[in-house]
């Protein structure tokens, strides 16, 4: 076991980890952040997406020991002071949530995109979701929700 420090959702946490443990495993099984979902463990579904230093990354492919000291955002950190993030609200409003299993990963891919590009085109959104599977929605309402959130965020930003 090795002791590492992670900055998870703006809080420093110390955890004891085995070198073989993935970040997905540590987030879910050690830190109880079960919003991060396993779907394949091979980096192909995006359900386990978290943001590491600004980039949306599949946490099933990352060893926890390799992200020592890095800043990690999970879906649990999106809402602030009991207020939903505009992406979360837009996902609800647009019907982008069905079973909800892909939703946390979708939200993290979308947040990483909007953090970098506040006015993405439809193609850019689809590209950002290129590694996220959804089996329920056909992606239409997810893309629409990201566009709506982006518009709402730009409006607030412009005020």
């Amino acid at each position: 076991m090795e002791k590492i420090t992670l900055r998870v959702n703006s809080r420093d946490v110390e955890v004891l980890v085995e070198p073989s443990w993935t970040l997905l495993y540590v987030l879910r099984e050690v830190l109880d952040l079960t919003g991060v979902k396993p779907g394949c463990h091979t980096g192909d579904c995006g359900a386990c997406k978290v943001i590491i230093d600004g980039e949306a990354v599949n946490s099933c492919l990352v060893r926890a020991v390799h992200v020592q000291g890095k800043s990690i955002e999970t879906v649990e950190g999106l809402a602030q002071d009991g207020r939903l993030h505009p992406l979360q609200q837009a996902f609800i409003d647009c019907g982008a949530v069905q079973c909800g299993y892909c939703t946390p990963g979708m939200l993290m891919s979308a947040k990483s995109l909007l953090d970098k590009n506040p006015a993405p085109t439809e193609e850019e959104i689809k590209e950002a979701l290129g590694n996220n599977y959804c089996r329920c929605t056909g992606y239409y309402k997810i893309v629409e929700a990201i566009q709506l959130a982006a518009a709402r965020m730009r409006e607030v930003g412009a005020e």
Partner: protein
């Protein structure tokens, strides 16, 4: 009573648990941890068919942290049918938790419960098994040969399904042309992003609780009761909600395994399959070989059709008979074909068990039928839409076998609307001949409820609170289809309550009224109806109490969001005052139960049009535009209804173009990860127009009928027909595999 200006019915209502889901707080099965919980791992068969000569678990048992190793030797050998619904039902029962014979690569051999998953995995590798290999079959045509080695009983043909209307031979003789074609469809994986997971624990009285991602909790309870010899009161099955299911979680798979381990250890045990395990060891959609012989007149009238189907049902019976049975019924809901015969044989092979999947037999048979009909239209030099209109059922349509009504079928309206929407398409360039462009269409049909096969019933309970808010107890299973949301809408509509005054307890066999599970397109058609009736009962009880309190004729009373009032005298009282009167003066409660059962199984329909662009050099297909019009009787939740169709288009295009659970000649699943098994990504989705035909179905709640399964049926044939038109070729096998000239 058609559209009456409803308040919430027909509106755009986000799924009721959305806030939990977007915040990561919705707890799926694998998200749960119980004190003292053990972790399980299953050992899967590496051979397609073998008798277990010896199995040595001593090294695994000796590993520190291992709490139990279960095999056929120390587990009940009770045989069950994994898709059981009714207590007294007798279906083919040939699966057990573990057996002394393994029948496919991926069959369960043993399972370990240990303190950690790592230990459990290590222990599984220490189990030594000697196999005596037996002949095996991956191809149903070989398996059904008379001298084939039987996987069960004395034949690999699980059964025969036969349906007939009219005289097919006579009809074919009277036809001007007869066409005969054989089509094949592959086994596919449901692709729910949540894999299979279950947790079981046993209390000191021996009561077994299983928390599981399973669409059939009451049926699963029966199977567990049979296996463990317990009364139903000593088994509780809870479904916490599923991360997609699509039929893949209908059948009992891992529940008996965790239950057995929990009984052996006395501790809670969790078993979560990873993607590969889910793909090779749960269920698939039946691969099928479909031969259709169709006789037509010169003017396009179909006079006879003979459909013969062989399905590969894999290693165990499960849905073998049901899927082919359902398929056989649905073909009688579509065309006015007086002479129509269906013969189907589900066949055992040494491949993963096939089971329920969205559409339940319809995607296979309508793929074949719709592709052949396009071919026939071409041969007759007839517009395909015209051929459809000539033969499709009208609203007074009947089942040719029985002469009985099939509801208010509107496939023709769907077709006409789809053609209208096609006018919105922009011209598409072939970029100087680089691409071939084609448009294809298809009709899809699916049923409503399990009525054609067995009893379909749901019972819903509503409990009113002091402030007149209420709790709905529903045996329905939530998997993203928003069935619970629809039930809440019905309650909100009838009880005139805002949605946040209603909450729900669902998917729990101890707490909820009995219901058939969530499959067979019955959520809207049956369960919603039961919720509506329960709400009507609660409303009547509230008004009866108010009548006493107000000393007013109950027939004069009505509800507003806050009051009960008299339309005649103008007397009014707050709703919470009525509840106070019920509880404190009458010393009673308002707890209402209502049941609804199917008395008919009408058809739901969809007409779809696809446009594709095929790169000539590579054969690569892009579906650029898509239209889906569905006959749903009445839209209950527009947001949810659109979402169901949109998701169905994703799944259906995958079925057409790229999805296949590839099993090699040795019986090994080759595409057993998401790396190899490709589904559509966001960038692959076409521009989509969705619309609904809303013509009141008299037997449905608010006039509504089913949608989500039906919506997937027409997709693959529409896409394949488009490709056939683009390239001027015939395609008879799914998925599409043409690789260019």
């Amino acid at each position: 009573m058609t559209d009456k200006g409803y308040a919430v019915i027909g509106e755009r209502v986000p799924i009721q648990d959305a806030v939990l889901k977007v915040t990561g707080q919705y707890k799926f099965t694998d998200d749960l941890k119980l004190p003292g919980m053990l972790y399980a791992q299953v050992l899967f068969s590496p051979v397609p068919h073998a008798r277990i000569k010896s199995i040595d678990t001593s090294a695994a048992e000796a590993l520190p942290g291992v709490r139990a190793v279960a095999t056929y030797k120390n587990s009940p050998r009770v045989r069950y049918n994994s898709t059981t619904r009714l207590y007294t039902q007798k279906w083919i029962e040939n699966e057990c938790i573990f057996d002394d014979t393994v029948r496919f690569i991926g069959d369960r051999v043993a399972a370990v419960a240990a303190d950690t998953l790592e230990i459990a995995k290590k222990a599984v590798r220490l189990i030594k098994v000697e196999y005596e290999e037996l002949p095996y079959y991956t191809d149903p045509l070989e398996a059904m040969a008379e001298d084939a080695y039987p996987i069960h009983g004395d034949s690999n043909i699980a059964g025969k399904i036969y349906q007939n209307a009219g005289d097919v031979e006579k009809g074919l003789a009277e036809a001007d042309y007869v066409f005969e074609d054989t089509y094949t469809t592959p086994a596919v994986h449901h692709g729910a992003i949540e894999t299979h997971a279950a947790i079981a624990y046993v209390d000191p009285r021996g009561k077994l609780t299983v928390i599981t991602a399973n669409q059939n909790t009451f049926g699963t309870r029966i199977v567990l009761a049979r296996i463990f010899g317990l009364p139903l009161s000593r088994i509780r099955v809870i479904n916490p909600g599923m991360g997609g299911a699509f039929g893949g979680k209908l059948e009992v798979t891992i529940e008996p395994v965790v239950a057995q381990l929990a009984r052996m250890t006395g501790r809670p045990v969790k078993l979560t399959y990873n993607r590969k395990e889910t793909m090779i060891s749960t269920r698939t959609r039946h691969a099928a070989i479909i031969t259709i012989k169709t006789g037509v007149k010169k003017d396009g009238t179909i006079v006879a059709q003979d459909i013969k189907v062989i399905t590969n049902t894999g290693a165990y019976a499960g849905s073998a008979m049901n899927v082919v049975g359902a398929m056989s019924g649905k073909v009688y809901k579509v065309y006015k074909i007086p002479n129509l015969r269906f013969t189907g044989y589900p066949v055992y092979t040494n491949t993963p068990s096939a089971g329920a999947m969205r559409g339940y037999g319809s995607p296979q048979v309508f793929f074949a039928q719709q592709c052949q009909l396009q071919k026939i239209a071409k041969a007759l030099n007839m517009d395909f839409a015209e051929l459809q209109l000539k033969n499709l059922v009208d609203p007074d349509g009947i089942d040719q076998r029985t002469g009985k009504s099939i509801g208010n079928p509107r496939p023709k309206d769907c077709l006409r609307r789809a053609l209208e929407l096609q006018r919105n398409w922009q011209p598409l360039s072939d970029e100087g001949g680089k691409y071939a462009i084609g448009v294809g269409m298809a009709l899809g049909c699916h049923g409503n409820s399990t009525f054609d096969a067995h009893l379909d019933k749901a019972s819903i309970i509503i409990k009113m609170n002091e402030d007149s808010s209420c709790i709905l107890f529903s045996g329905s299973h939530e998997m993203g289809q928003a069935t619970i949301t629809a039930q809440m809408q019905a309650v909100a509509e009838i009880l005139k309550l805002p949605l946040d005054m209603i909450d729900v307890v669902c998917g729990d066999t101890d707490l909820c009224g009995w219901t058939v599970g969530d499959f067979s397109s019955r959520g809207i058609y049956i369960s919603l109806y039961a919720a509506k009736k329960a709400a009507e009962a609660a409303r009547a009880a509230l008004l009866r109490a108010a009548a006493l309190l107000l000393e007013e004729d109950v027939n004069n009373l009505d509800l507003s969001e806050s009051h009960v009032y008299s339309r005649v005298s103008g007397k009014r009282v707050e709703r919470y005052r009525v509840m106070e009167y019920v509880q404190q003066v009458l010393k009673e409660e308002i707890i209402c139960t209502a049941s609804h059962h199917a008395t008919r199984a009408p058809g739901s329909y969809g007409f779809h049009i696809a446009r594709v662009r095929v790169e000539k050099s590579t054969g690569k297909v892009e579906v650029t535009d898509y239209i889906a019009v569905q006959d749903v009787g009445k839209v209950i939740n527009r947001l949810g209804a659109e979402g169901q169709v949109e998701g169905a288009v994703q799944m259906g295009i995958g079925y057409a173009l790229c999805e296949k659970l590839e099993v090699d000649a040795e019986g090994r699943v080759r595409s057993s990860s998401f790396r190899q098994y490709k589904m559509l990504r966001a960038a692959n989705m076409p521009k989509l127009q969705v619309d609904f035909v809303e013509e009141y179905e008299p037997t449905g709640p608010f006039g509504a009928k089913s949608l989500a399964e039906c919506a997937v049926v027409a997709v693959a044939p529409a896409v394949i027909n488009a490709i056939c038109n683009a390239l001027d070729i015939e395609i008879k096998d799914l998925p599409y595999s043409y690789r260019g000239q």
